[in-house]
């Protein structure tokens, strides 16, 4: 599914990713853990094509297709979805309008028919119900005046409605209380399937109690410095990142 090989990337001419390699097969959930400044968010932005993040070497492919050559919206249409650490506020655009525009743009890019208004509303009601989001909230401007937890739930709602093939969750647990965390995790777990891959980026182990990873990777100073099973996350929680920070240096 996702294959990242020897990826180097710079931001403002400063190298942040320094030869990162990673394989996430379909059906698996991989966690990326690492200290602040290790390059976790940079990885999510490089994979989704944000401007200002320049790839200087290496490759990233999804099912063999070169992601780095595509525009951000083309990557989205191929099924790459990033749940933002800090979801943006979009004044003047109701959440429903935003999501429907995105869904239809993706469908159009894939040569599929647009979703009809009744179908869309039915889907939105169903998914909002599952995520305990008040449907009225979807009529308001996207994320404007929403709490941190509401914004994260809105990310998961978009994810559920856009039904992506590869999910990147960037610090999805930040700003969530325990009840919201459970709702969000349930929403993510509902999307686990044999033909989907997920990359869960997190600083803390807590989220991984709710979204159980198949593999855990430690990212330090721009490279994966250790990989292991779920037990690695527990070890990091106990012993911290010091050992790996030294290993990377």
């Amino acid at each position: 599914m996702l294959s990242v090989s020897n990826l180097h990337a710079t931001v403002d001419e400063k190298e942040i990713l320094k030869g990162l390699s990673l394989e996430v097969p379909a059906g698996e959930v991989h966690a990326i853990m690492g200290p602040n400044g290790a390059g976790k968010s940079t990885l999510s932005y490089v994979l989704t094509g944000r401007s200002g993040y320049e790839v200087t070497a290496g490759s990233a492919t999804l099912d063999g297709e070169d992601l780095l050559a595509l525009e951000p919206n083309e990557r989205a249409a191929k099924g790459v979805f990033l749940s933002f650490q800090y979801p943006l506020e979009i004044p003047g655009v109701p959440a429903l309008t935003f999501i429907r525009t995105a869904l239809n743009a993706q469908r159009k890019a894939r040569g599929e028919a647009e979703i009809t208004a009744p179908e869309f509303l039915k889907l939105a009601r169903q998914k909002a119900g599952e995520l305990k989001i008040d449907f009225e909230m979807l009529k308001r401007a996207l994320n404007v005046g929403f709490s941190g937890g509401e914004k994260k739930r809105m990310e998961i709602l978009q994810m559920a409605m856009l039904s992506p093939r590869f999910l990147i969750l960037d610090e999805t647990d930040s700003g969530l209380d325990i009840d919201a965390l459970r709702i969000v995790a349930d929403g993510v777990n509902a999307l686990r399937s044999p033909d989907r891959g997920m990359l869960v980026i997190t600083h803390y182990q807590r989220l991984l109690d709710y979204i159980k990873p198949d593999r855990v990777h430690v990212l330090s100073a721009g490279r994966i410095v250790a990989s292991g099973g779920p037990e690695l996350a527990l070890e990091l929680e106990r012993e911290g990142y010091d050992k790996y920070a030294r290993a990377a240096a």
Binding site: N73, F81, I90, I99, T101, A105, Q106
Partner: protein, 343 residues
């Protein structure tokens, strides 16, 4: 020295220019060196229908400066009137329109400026009087041609307890000034002056407002937003004067513009002149680019860049359009704005 006199007397020396403080960003004297011929007489029957015709009980056409010159609303009467100011071909023309809404009357004035590809110079002066407890909502769609020069000057006389609300939307012209001057008597009269300018190519639009609060208890609310690209130039001048003794005036002015190219320009001059002690006045002015982060967010969700830009700019303008009360006119204005932004 007025544009109307310059046209009627065929005397370009009477045109305002950059040495006149209020016209320094909309220089007509520097632009028009020779008095144009008077515009040709055109048959209003040849014009087709206007954008608001279907909403109006009366449609009044002023074509190349000629046509009916008075709109009246009797006490207690409610009316929706379309006023079409049409310019065709080269040449100059000026017109006057007076509008009187008597006590307790209600008028929705749906005004359009419709130009063709000609190099015309058109002026229209509107004298608008709103009696006690009467109300006007004025919605203006200005669709001039790229070579046209248009000056619209409205003078609004408000009475105590009256309400005047306007939204001017324009796509500019070679040079264009849409000016509204309001004599505000206080006395719980309510005033809203909104504007939207959406400019591309080398177009120019100047939205100028002057409000004078003469006495106690007046309210003014203003929100203008603009989007300029290519080599276009937007001008916003908003002056609110609160005279001595006009205490308890509540005035708010906002102007916000998006500049979408390096060569586009926005000139803004918000002014509050306050000679009274106990007032509540505020203004805000911002000029910037589209938010890159919001743009990336929309693209990450699959929305292609041009569509994402259009969606975000429409939303930016939407805040002003949403304030139009007359719903069918609001939707026509919204569709018109979307068309300008996606062109």
């Amino acid at each position: 020295m007025t544009v109307a006199a310059a046209i009627r007397e065929r005397d370009v020396s009477q045109l305002p220019g950059k040495r006149d403080e209020d016209w320094r960003w909309t220089d007509l004297r520097g632009l028009i060196r020779q008095a144009p011929e008077p515009s040709a007489v055109i048959d209003p029957g040849s014009l087709g229908s206007g954008p608001f015709d279907a909403l109006a009980e009366d449609v009044i056409v002023v074509a190349n400066g000629r046509g009916a010159a008075h709109i009246g609303v009797e006490p207690g009467e409610t009316k929706v009137v379309a006023l079409r100011v049409v310019s065709r071909g080269d040449g100059a023309h000026a017109a006057r329109v007076s509008i009187d809404v008597e006590t307790g009357g209600r008028l929705v004035l749906l005004e359009t400026y419709e130009g063709d590809a000609g190099g015309y110079l058109g002026q229209v002066g509107l004298l608008i009087s709103v009696a006690e407890n009467a109300a006007i909502e004025r919605v203006v769609l200005a669709s001039d041609g790229a070579e046209g020069v248009t000056v619209s000057e409205a003078l609004v006389e408000l009475s105590p307890g009256a309400a005047f609300a306007q939204t001017v939307l324009t796509s500019g012209a070679r040079r264009q000034r849409l000016q509204t001057t309001v004599r505000h008597p206080g006395g719980h009269a309510a005033l809203r002056l909104d504007g939207v300018y959406l400019l591309a190519d080398k177009r120019h639009a100047d939205l100028t407002t002057v409000v004078t609060h003469a006495a106690l208890h007046g309210a003014t609310e203003q929100l203008t937003k603009g989007v300029v690209r290519d080599q276009a130039r937007g001008v916003f001048q908003g002056r609110i004067v609160v005279a001595e003794g006009a205490d308890h005036t509540d005035a708010r002015m906002g102007h916000h513009a998006l500049i979408l190219s390096d060569r586009a320009e926005v000139d803004a001059k918000p002014e509050l002149e306050i000679y009274a002690d106990d007032v509540s006045c505020a203004h805000g002015n911002t000029v910037g680019a589209l938010d890159d982060e919001a743009l990336f967010y929309a693209r990450q969700r699959g929305i292609p860049e041009p569509e994402a830009r259009a969606m975000l700019t429409e939303a930016f303008i939407g805040e002003v359009v949403d304030r139009i009360v007359h719903e069918p006119a609001r939707e026509i204005a919204r569709a018109w704005a979307a068309e300008q932004l996606r062109a």
